[in-house]
């Protein structure tokens, strides 16, 4: 495939609530990725950062801040601010630069530091801001996750035990991930004993926010070959598509969906659209996938993603889970990293962290989390304002 790029190195600062500046996490991840790649910092000619407004003037305009922290050396920079897809957009910018022949090696970095408690909008009376409106009416992030979870129960017969089983599965594997924030193994009883937040979701069904940093060193296939890394995993596809009108599932932070009343317009669920472009671009189908890293903002959402990625027919993800097929050792392991359940969400870093995990898995370096013989992995995530992404990595 002509537009593939090589992943020479991956690095992450462990997730947690460390209370440091985000630049520290990004630099630690970048240095680990550079060391992993065996590429001198001076050889990096493009620095692509994922940003969020939480880290000041969007992440001090992220690419430049990381480049300065690592030591200005005249590389070109880029910054991508795209909610949960920020990391994937930053990676796509690096891919474009490499494939345009403008650089051989690029560094992609995302890092976040998060406040305690709910993420809330600015105050005042601002009904023109959908985020303000929904909080004013009492509609928080877990509301949306719970609406999706309830539909699974009423439409497909999923149970609270199924949702708890996702948490149990992810905590068991995440316990083996040194970069995860939560390493405790939880039982179904632990989940059932946690407080109800937004029925049917309990506290332990919903992911936390976290500090963290993730980085990738990527290059042209030619450069990879030149430094003896012709077998490095490759980015085979990046999808950062928007929804298609009419977006038929009510999404954060909106109070209503698009209307599909006009002639020739159909209601379309955005999540299921995101991986389509990735599969097409990589020239593969769901049957070729060995493992998936998906955005489990809630336990139930992991089941939705499995179906959106077409790893199971609609409504049948819970059956896959019950059979143990989505655990490491099963037919199609999902969130072998431990997922957001064990990490918490560090927005501009998270999409890159997903690719880091696939990189280590495809290199056979995932230790106790290793998915045996993994050759193809896919990521998926979705965030605010029509941002989402899916990346396919091939061995």
């Amino acid at each position: 495939m002509s537009n593939e790029i090589a992943i020479l190195g991956a690095g992450m600062h462990p997730w947690g609530k460390w209370g440091h500046n985000f630049v520290e996490y990004g630099v630690a991840a970048a240095r680990e990725a550079l060391a992993d790649a065996g590429v001198p910092w001076q050889d990096v000619r493009f620095v692509s950062g994922g940003a969020t407004v939480r880290c000041g003037y969007p992440g001090y305009v992220a690419g430049a801040t990381f480049a300065q922290a690592l030591g200005w050396q005249g590389a070109e920079v880029n910054t991508s601010y795209a909610a949960c897809a920020s990391g994937s957009q930053a990676l796509a910018a690096a891919r474009n630069k490499i494939n345009a022949g403008e650089c051989d090696v690029a560094l992609v970095v995302g890092a976040d530091t998060t406040p305690k408690g709910f993420l809330a909008p600015a105050g005042g009376y601002r009904p023109e801001d959908p985020d303000w409106v929904r909080f004013y009416l009492g509609i928080t992030n877990p509301t949306y996750f719970a609406l999706y979870a309830r539909r699974r129960m009423d439409l497909y017969g999923d149970t609270l035990e199924d949702f708890a089983a996702v948490k149990v599965k992810n905590s068991r594997i995440g316990a083996h991930n040194p970069r995860a924030r939560y390493k405790k193994v939880f039982s179904a009883e632990d989940v059932a004993a946690s407080a109800m937040v937004a029925d049917p979701l309990r506290l332990m069904d919903i992911c936390a926010t976290s500090d963290g940093g993730a980085a990738l060193v990527v290059s042209s296939l030619e450069y990879a070959k030149k430094i003896g890394k012709a077998n490095a995993p490759r980015v085979a596809a990046i999808s950062t598509v928007t929804p298609t009108f009419a977006s038929g599932v009510v999404e954060m932070p909106d109070i209503a969906t698009d209307s599909a009343a006009a002639a020739g317009v159909e209601a379309i669920a955005y999540r299921s659209q995101i991986p389509l472009k990735a599969y097409e671009e990589a020239g593969i189908g769901p049957a070729d996938v060995d493992l998936a890293e998906v955005y489990d903002l809630s336990t139930a959402l992991e089941l939705d993603w499995i179906e959106d990625l077409q790893l199971a027919p609609r409504g049948e993800a819970a059956a896959l889970l019950r059979a143990g097929d989505t655990a490491v050792g099963g037919k199609i392991p999902v969130n072998a990293s431990g997922g957001l359940a064990c990490f918490g969400e560090a927005v501009p870093a998270q999409a890159l962290a997903q690719v880091c995990e696939l990189t280590w898995q495809l290199r056979g370096e995932a230790g106790d989390r290793q998915v045996q013989g993994a050759k193809v992995g896919i990521t998926a995530n979705q965030g605010l304002f029509g941002h989402g992404s899916s990346v396919i990595v091939k061995a």
Binding site: I139, D199, I255
Partner: protein
């Protein structure tokens, strides 16, 4: 409830009569509905109209999904003390082919509703200020 006047929590989003409606717009070219009101550009990619008419949306629909808020949401939500959990529903409007969120009327819990159940729009207090009671739309299950 006090004798304070009732005013909309969000001005211009719904009628304040006994059979309230949400106020949206409809593209005069392609017929797409918008809520909240959209008056400058049609978001249907097949349409570039800039002409809209105000419309009252259907005041009945069917529950697409539902949940509740067991914990006090952060500001700008104004919570009564002590906080009482409330129920929330996403409701499908058939004519408009859209789903609209809202609280469910006080006293109805998640155990009382199901996906597909018919509901109608009513007004209830969202919170009180020193001067008035701020009213919002809520969904109320329809008998039968």
């Amino acid at each position: 409830m006090s004798g304070k006047p009732q005013n909309p929590a969000i001005e211009g989003w719904y009628t304040m009569d006994a059979s309230p409606h949400l106020i949206g717009t409809r593209c005069t070219d392609c017929g797409t509905y918008f809520f909240p009101r959209q008056t400058h550009y049609c978001r249907n990619p097949q349409c570039s109209s800039t002409e809209f008419e105000d419309v009252q949306l259907s005041r009945t629909g069917r529950i697409w999904s539902y949940t509740n808020a067991c914990y006090k949401p952060p500001e700008p939500f104004i919570a009564p003390e002590p906080f009482e959990p409330f129920t929330i529903a996403a409701v499908e409007l058939e004519k408009e082919q859209m789903v609209v969120l809202g609280q469910v009327v006080t006293g109805v819990s998640v155990d009382d509703i199901k996906v597909g159940m018919p509901v109608e729009l009513v007004l209830e207090p969202l919170h009180e200020t020193d001067e008035d009671i701020k009213m919002t739309w809520k969904w109320q299950p329809l008998a039968g």
